[in-house]
Amino acid sequence: MGVREILRKWGVTDFQVIDKKALSEITLGASILATGGGGDPEIGLLWAYNVVDQGKEILLIDPEAMPDEALAAIAGCLGAALVLTEKPPNGQELFWCYDSLRRYMGKSIEAVVPPEAGGVNTPVPMAVAGAVGIPVIDADGMGRAFPELQMTSFYIHGVSPSPTAAADEKGHVTICDASDALLTERIIRNAAMAYGGISWIAGYPMTGRQLKDTAILRSISMAWDLGKRVFNARRKHLDPIAEAINLTGGYRAFQGKIVDIDREFGAEKTKGFSLGRITVEGTDDFKGRTVVVDFQNEWLNLEIDGEVRCMPPDLICILDPATGEPIRTDIVRYGYRGTVLLIPAHERMRTERGIATFGPRYFGYDRDYIPVERLMESTSG
């Protein structure tokens, strides 16, 4: 059955055809919202373009259009950011995962939902949907990117990541079916390390009802809008950061030059993440001030002159001031200039269970979560 037949069966007439231009806009927006992670958009886009070039249709539908009982799953990449940038896929990995998962469950998966916002983890699942012939749901599991499998709105609102299938480029597939989500994360993470640093995964099977109740809804539309605005700002020589703030309600917290990148080298093979800390020296209005940002695949925690100004799950986006291009943790280099944009996390991410799953304490900071709005408002004036 092809994607159009599925939509006909569901009685869905309202959908958007995602062409290459749309892919480039969505990917730019998603890579900005990915808080320094989510993968190299160059890899995600070229991969997705291939699928479009093969004549496959990528159709995006609203979450409400998906029947309550139909089954959706995520597809994407999990592991160390630096490894993905250096070892792109052969393109079959996710199909192997998808097939294994379908065979294991004995059910067909009728829709794909991207796990997170990211240069790879948004366009690639969309392209997988196109290649397999099923629709993409306009939603994701974070509204940003996070390093671990259980760090999703799906999980904190009751959906299990299991069963999840993880593949490498040689066709090895690991299926984990565990009731404990943290254990699933550990097993899939170890598979990633055994594979050389990254796993390509399909998992989180969920019904349409579960998706509607737990996902960050219409987040692809949001990324698309953001991408369009930034492209438009570039064309018209407008400030791309201001455009992003208008749409997301974020804060322009800092501007500066990256003067140190202290990577915890080796974490890729022992922990399965890219870990470290960057130091940014202020320029322009921020001269004389210093920002320190910790990262674990994504930017996690930000301090200005020693005072914390953003905690997970709120978004830390570091963008090239002229182009709005995101600076990612895997490619950040000495001397890059960036504007720091802080964005409040989606309300579905800020529940008590959310803060326990991906708040400051989970990442080892000995402090309670304070929303970025409060942290930033206490500094203004």
Partner: protein, 550 residues
Amino acid sequence: MEAGRTVRNLGVVGVGNMETKRELRVGFDVGGTFTDGVLMCGREVLAKAKSLTTPDVTGGIVEALEAVMTKSGANPAEVAMVSLGTTHTTNALIERRNLNQVGIFRLGAPATTAIPPLTGWPESLKEAIGGHELVHIIRGGSEYDGRDIVPLDKKAIEDACKSMKGKVDSVSITGVFSPIINDHEEQSAEIVRNVLGEDIPITLSHRIATISLLERENSTILNASVITVMRRAVNSLKAAVRKRGIDAPLFIVQNDGSVMSADYAIDYPIFTVASGPAASVRGSVYLSGIEDGVVVDIGGTSTDVAYIVKGFPRESSITVNIGGVKTNIRCPDLLSIALGGGTIVKHKDDDVIELGPESVGYNLVRLGKSFGGPLLTVHDTAVALGKLQQKLDVFKTDYVTHPEKINAVPKALIKNAWVAIKTTIEEVIDKMKTTPEPVPAIFIGGGALVVPREKIIGVSEVLMPDHFEVGGAVGTTIAEIGAYAEGVVDLDIEDRAEAIVEVTERAKDNAEAAGAIRNTVEVIDVEEIPFTYMPGKREKIRIRVKGQVL
């Protein structure tokens, strides 16, 4: 040497000792049409000259050098430094001309194949370097932890080399995780040399850039494609200088506007690909005193545009576009277009079809209508409109020798061409601007005289400073000196911050030894590459610095 506990010096971009009495500097800017030469004492222009760039490059440099030495009566022994900027590599890439046929190896299958080499490249550039036929994705490459992805398929490399025999001028090899572990790249290079001979230039990706496979591979292929063009320029400079009895260190302007030793530049032309425009920016800022605006350097073959902020070209964003290809080479944000004084105006009757991209280059005086030739060029358009009134003393020939040929060109065609040229310049300036407000523009280069300068949209005023026609050559002589140092450190034993300070100090020592003033030396790049396949926390620290010479 064993991997030690202390930071060791692994590399120096070094030059000979400077003697204080040697105060003269010679600078060249080799363009597609003209070779400009200047002789400077400090920041004063003592002599300047323009010669036609010759096909062998050497002839043009010899002539310009001879002219500046004769005009000034300078003693060759007083020349302390010779520097060169060139748009040859950029021109080759934007005109898709004189590029090497590149045998392309990627060591990474069965991973990476979703995005094969040359994906996203402009079609014309792909074809110009030999295209997909010369691309081979080989089983091999490394994992982050040093394991092989799969063992290197040496037989496949050998077979591929045999199929390339006689078809390639140069080879690029990019292995997954080679910045961390380069075994597979080195082994492949050995096989390539065995089959294709010792003389074939091979570019290995781990010498070019850091982690990020696709961008590093692009940079490596581009490097391989312009290696012959750059070698010719550097060898020409060496020959010309030797012939004139000058014994001074030779430098090439790098992308960041500082200079590197010419011998190093030969194998790594990608680091000097923006050499010409980078020198123009320095020259323009110095000659005009304008620190914020756009620099438009119009040569005979191409025009380079840079946006300057506080006296320096704006740093380009995270991915850098060279010739339409995404790379991770550090480079200022520059845009080069194929428009210069010698650019051919393609037309059908009175309508302009296209400006270039071909230029008559150094054949302007043979092929341009002003000189009795058959082709209409940008230069001829300016002549027809009476924009050129007097010959500059740096030009040997008059600007027109056959006015009757110019008079025979239809007035409507001339008008259309002039509008097309103006629009093209306005578009490229607009692309580089980051604000909608008009900004000052500095027009330099020999071609500045033959393009529209009035009522340019987006520009508040057009300035043409003294010596504008040799601005790039002036820029090469006042460029900063770049240097680097490397050290291996074990972070289990040593403090990272201290190790960085130590390597930085040695990089500064190297810059000083090369003639830079110590307290002006600043860090421009810090790179750390982990040896993740070794026990402990060993890593290589590489620090690049640059500093002023005057």
